[in-house]
């Protein structure tokens, strides 16, 4: 027979606390080599003089493998069809294509039913020929759904679409500079600035929902503040 719910909760909390205190004891007995690596003080094999050098060498090798893996990964990521789903992790570019797609998506999320190309074109001022082109990648990444017929048109596929998804679907990889495949990548100190910029932009874009922008739009139109 299973113990009562209260007993189970109590037991799990005791186990958890034990775990935490064990972890704490372990940490106090360690030297911090790097933010990610703790070295136990008690074991001479690990922390004793010459052995330490071996560990250092080991880390150099590890670093090499990390580099190899990074290069391997970046090569693999260029194959966009294979990795279409991971694509958005790598950010986006910003040109009129992305800007127009974003406008289209914001307009589509204000609509209740299907929207025809013509009505989108009227609201956003984008030509219908260009809109048809913009819809192709959006449809491919399952951000919009289309329906044929008299009542047909485009509608938003789900509620939780982020701006980052829209931009990366229409634009592809956002890289502020073409430094991605540079050989000096690891030696070049300015490279970290560019990756910082890239990370900031894509992280932010993936936090903002298209839905929120649409609600701002509706609010501003209701208030007459166009």
């Amino acid at each position: 027979m299973a113990p009562a719910a209260g007993v189970r909760v109590w037991a799990s909390s005791v186990l958890f606390m034990n775990r935490v205190s064990a972890l704490y004891r372990f940490e106090t007995d360690c030297t911090m080599v790097s933010p990610r690596f703790l070295l136990p003080k008690a074991y001479p094999m690990v922390s004793g003089g010459p052995y330490f050098l071996c560990w250092a060498l080991f880390f150099v090798y590890l670093h090499d493998f990390a580099m190899i893996w990074r290069v391997h990964r970046s090569e693999r990521m260029t194959n966009l069809d294979v990795c279409a789903k991971c694509w958005y992790l790598y950010g986006m570019k910003l040109s009129t294509k992305g800007r127009y797609s974003l406008e289209t998506m914001v307009y589509l999320s204000t609509c209740r039913g299907n929207c025809s190309i013509r009505s989108i074109s009227e609201a956003t001022g984008i030509s219908s020929g260009y809109l048809e082109q913009l819809m192709i990648p959006l449809k491919r990444f399952n951000l919009v759904e289309s329906e044929r017929g008299v009542q047909g048109g485009y509608r938003i596929a789900r509620k939780d679409i982020t701006c980052g998804e829209v931009l990366s679907a229409s634009e592809g990889i956002f890289t502020p500079t073409p430094c991605e495949d540079c050989i000096q990548n690891d030696a070049c100190k300015t490279h970290q600035i560019w990756s910082m910029l890239q990370d900031t932009v894509s992280e932010f874009a993936h936090q903002i929902l298209v839905e929120d922008l649409a609600s701002h739009l509706v609010a501003s139109e209701a208030g007459g503040g166009i």
Binding site: F37, W194, V201, S220
Partner: protein, 138 residues
């Protein structure tokens, strides 16, 4: 937004000067050979940085460029803003801006610019040059 060669090479020039800083000015030909960039182009960028008040040029034999301030006092964001003209995502609103464009500009691009400025707040040239190679470890 794309960072042009001017922004990239300008930053590399500053980093190089900060790393090889001494009392003596550094000739651009040295920087060019170390960084593998064209000297002619570096001259243009250096002129821009001199006008912006980041570099001091020294004339004559043994002349070259010096950082005008300590590298701890040079903010990367300001340098990029100077070199690129403007590193904002939000474009200047046109006359016939639609409501949608306005909404996206205010609630997305301007906030994005704030976020970028926030990230780069306090990041100086010294931080870039000090970076350790093993930050990539593991």
């Amino acid at each position: 937004m794309k960072v042009s060669t001017r922004g990239r090479y300008g930053l590399r020039l500053l980093v190089d000067l900060a790393e090889h800083s001494s009392e003596l000015p550094v000739a651009l030909s040295q920087v060019a050979s170390r960084q593998g960039l064209s000297e002619k182009y570096l001259q243009q960028v250096a002129l821009l940085l001199t006008r912006g008040g980041y570099l001091v040029s020294v004339k004559g034999a043994g002349g070259g460029y010096l950082l005008s301030r300590k590298s701890e006092q040079i903010l990367i964001y300001d340098v990029l803003d100077l070199l690129e003209g403007n590193i904002a995502f939000a474009e200047i609103p046109q006359k016939e801006e639609t409501a949608i464009q306005r909404c996206i500009r205010i609630h997305f691009f301007q906030k994005l610019d704030e976020k970028v400025a926030q990230t780069f707040e306090g990041v100086t040239l010294a931080d870039v040059t000090k970076a350790e190679w093993f930050t990539y470890m593991i």
